[in-house]
Amino acid sequence: MPESITIAVVRRLSPLLLLFFLFTGFVPQLLANTSTGEASLQEAWKALTDKSYSKKEKAITLIARQNTADAYPVMKAMLDGKLYFSTRDKTLFVLKEQDGNYAFTPLFAGQAVTQESKRGFKKVKINNRLRTRLRQALALLQLQHEDKKLRLAAVQELLKNPDSKAANLIRDVVEKETDTEIRTAMHTLLAVIQLESPNENEQREAIKKLADSLNPSALNALTAYQPPNTALKKLANAAIQKINDRRDNYARAETIFFGLSLGSVLALAAIGLAITFGVMGVINMAHGELIMIGAYTTYVIQLLMPEHIGISVIVAIPAAFIVSGLVGMAIELTVIRHLYGRPLETLLATFGVSLVLQQTVRSIFSPLNRSVETPQWMSGAFQINEVLALTWNRFYIIIFCLAVFVALILVMKKTLLGLQVRAVSQNRLMARAMGVRSKWVDALTFGLGSGIAGMAGVALSLLTNVGPNLGQSYIIDSFMVVVFGGVGNLWGTLVAGMSLGVINKVLEPWAGAVLAKILVLVFIILFIQKRPTGLFPQRGRAAED
């Protein structure tokens, strides 16, 4: 590549960028360009096995510059933590795990080895700094990779610290690029570099292009840009304004998404309570622990099927429903059964139950948090554009919440059980007179509410700690949601959960996390003054006692 241009560009860079280059070792790379040769490359390979990170960094710089055929796979393996070396003679190997065995393939000389342990081999360790260097070096090599995702990742990596070297490479490939998204990103990068051009027309063109980009680099470039005249200054300011306006709009959309996702967590945690407390009138202080049991069920399922993390969460949903549901039925049959008509006593007894359940879990699983792995398909984010991304797990939880809800409504409205549950909750004696086995219905209803709490636990296990205190952190919020929505009204619970979530998230950027929560609580208190029986009060005579 033409060295002179690079240096000219470096000279023109703002001091800030210069500092950055100094730091990332870009400049030493330029200076060290003369000392090439096979011998030093050999040494570089060897240096990778060294303990010192700075030696490894030098080696990577050298290897990346040589751009030999080996460079790409080695750097990739290194980044993925698959690059090993034999402790005997320090030759490099790439590790591949095959059904419990470790296969070591030599990079240069040596025998391929497959064994049960990693004995005799040591990993080439990397740190943050090396990882950054590797990413950048790989990105340059990946620009023409056949995989679209890798190409896009490469451009985005380069966009983080755009430089003229990358720009030159991109200029070569941009016309060949077929994917529009990648092309847009490439053009943004080119525009960022173009902004550095001494030619005012070029600058104008660049500003116009950047104004349409949401990439942070575009905004940063425009902010750092020093316009030579007022016309350009105006143009640049307008561009910044435009970008900021769009970003603000997307930020608002993001806040609503955050609110809905928090709301769905709240609603999910509360739905079970809406049945045990709302429909049956049991002040169920053990509700949180039933959620916790669902979360632990997910953990156990993952222990049982470590090879299939992907579907473990799906399996966990019915499993948690059954486990929590059975525990709930056991609680109903042994304790709550004796307390109907004495709702406040249920508070007392279920509080006792919650202490016992907490301690049981603590005794079985230890007080330590357990780790639940997020499956691949649920991690990461759905990138709508460069400033708005919706995380998949939150997205699925919103959907899950709605699905649970619809299923529950169907059960309550369309099945015999639902009919009987409503009958018993409205008038127990009359229902019994009509031939409803109220005791069975009670047990099943409580089991249903508990089972749903268990399913909420599956969702929570993917977001937060799976530990003995999991339940306690959701019980108060759950009661708030049910009461705010109106006791006995399932729709009320959903609407209440969602609106509290959105209110909380809208307040948060303005008031901070703590104050937002306090304000939400004050809002609930005041709201109840206005509507003493919640959003959707239960009507009819049954509500009057």
Binding site: V335, F351, V487, V514, L526, Q529, P532
Partner: protein, 362 residues
């Protein structure tokens, strides 16, 4: 004479007061006069512990007044307790004066620590005991008044009322956790030195606090007993059992509820104020909704709507907790949780209900 009248129909209450009297004589004697080696010596640890239990008993009494006789299940009584405690704690903090670790004559340590330049306005006046004592009553009272005024006027009842009291204490807990609030954040107020000039670590001061707690409990018991035996008390029981009917007869239900609620909150505040110098710390954890639920459980275990039941319940549960946490540190929650379940199932009227059940059988 009047007192005797009041107690004539309250045998258990009389016994309780008599026990309190005996204890208030025996404890100082056993602690201060009996030499340390003797097996009759009562350690200061036990005295402080008993003092703490008594303040809990007072708190339970306050909760029983509104729950047992008015039907208001307050899940936020811990908030009034904590507010009373904070008022006392602020007085005790101001008493430290120059003896804090930074030696600042005006600012408490935690403020120096966080770079505060001047005393926030709400800390003024707390260097005077009378002011702090007034605040112990006024702050919880005022909160209860405002809260009750809104809630009772809007006719919020039942679980809705319970849950918004819980929301209240939860919001206060979060607020007091904030360091910007100026109440010491999570660490709360601690490292107290003396109260009215008496060294808090002296055995005699502890005995004094213990006696004050005993006296407060006895007086509060007589006061609440007087209220529940008066016309006001009868009206409140009527409200508990049939609120609408009482209203239609012509009682101002809102007012009765409001004043009982405020009185109860003030009692809780006094309990908190006595609690803090004995345990030596007040922090936002006292606002925790779980604490408020627990205190309702004391009342339920003792026996709701009897006043003395609340006292017995508080003493018993807390003794059990102290005992279990030391004797069965690993599994005490099983024991405590099991106790709650069994009492609910087999003693629906609480422990004092045992006697009533037997009387009914006899």
């Amino acid at each position: 004479m009047f007192m005797l009248d009041l107690l004539r129909n309250d045998k258990p209450g009389s016994w309780m007061l008599a026990t309190l009297l005996v204890v208030s004589i025996a404890v100082p004697v056993l602690n201060l006069l009996v030499p340390e080696g003797s097996i009759f010596h009562l350690s200061t640890y036990t005295v402080t512990l008993l003092g703490k239990y008594l303040t809990y008993a007072l708190l339970a009494l306050a909760a029983d007044l509104v729950w047992g006789y008015l039907g208001i299940l307050s899940l936020g009584h811990g908030a009034f307790f904590a507010l009373g405690g904070y008022a006392m704690g602020m007085y005790l903090m101001r008493q430290i004066g120059e003896r804090g670790v930074y030696g600042d004559p005006l600012l408490p340590d935690f403020m120096v620590f966080l770079n505060w330049q001047e005393l926030p306005w709400f800390w003024h006046g707390f260097d005077q005991f009378w002011f702090a004592a007034l605040m112990v009553l006024l702050v919880p009272g005022l909160l209860a008044y405002v809260f009750g005024y809104l809630a009772f006027r809007s006719r919020v009842t039942g679980v809705y009322l319970s849950i918004i009291t819980q929301a209240m204490t939860y919001a206060l807990m979060l607020a007091f956790f904030r360091n910007e609030m100026g109440f010491g954040g999570n660490n709360g107020l601690t490292d107290f030195k003396d109260l009215l000039g008496f060294d808090l670590r002296a055995d005699s001061t502890r005995i004094g606090l213990f006696l004050a707690s005993t006296a407060a409990l006895a007086i509060a018991y007589l006061g609440t007993r007087y209220i529940v035996s008066s016309r006001l008390g009868l009206a409140s029981v009527a409200i508990r059992d049939a609120e609408s009917r009482t209203r239609f007869i012509g009682y101002r239900v809102e007012n009765i509820k409001l004043w009982m609620f405020v009185f109860s909150a003030m009692l809780a505040g006094v309990a908190g104020a006595l609690y803090v110098p004995q345990v030596g710390i007040i922090n936002p954890g006292e606002f925790s909704p779980l604490n408020s639920i627990e205190l309702i459980i004391w009342v339920a275990i003792g026996g709701r709507g009897t006043l003395y039941g609340a006292v017995i319940g508080a003493l018993l549960v807390n003794y059990a907790k102290t005992y279990f946490t030391a004797a069965l540190p690993e599994i005490w929650l099983f024991a405590l949780g099991g106790l709650f379940i069994l009492v609910t199932l087999y003693l629906p009227k609480g422990i004092v209900g045992l006697r009533r059940m037997r009387e009914a059988r006899a």
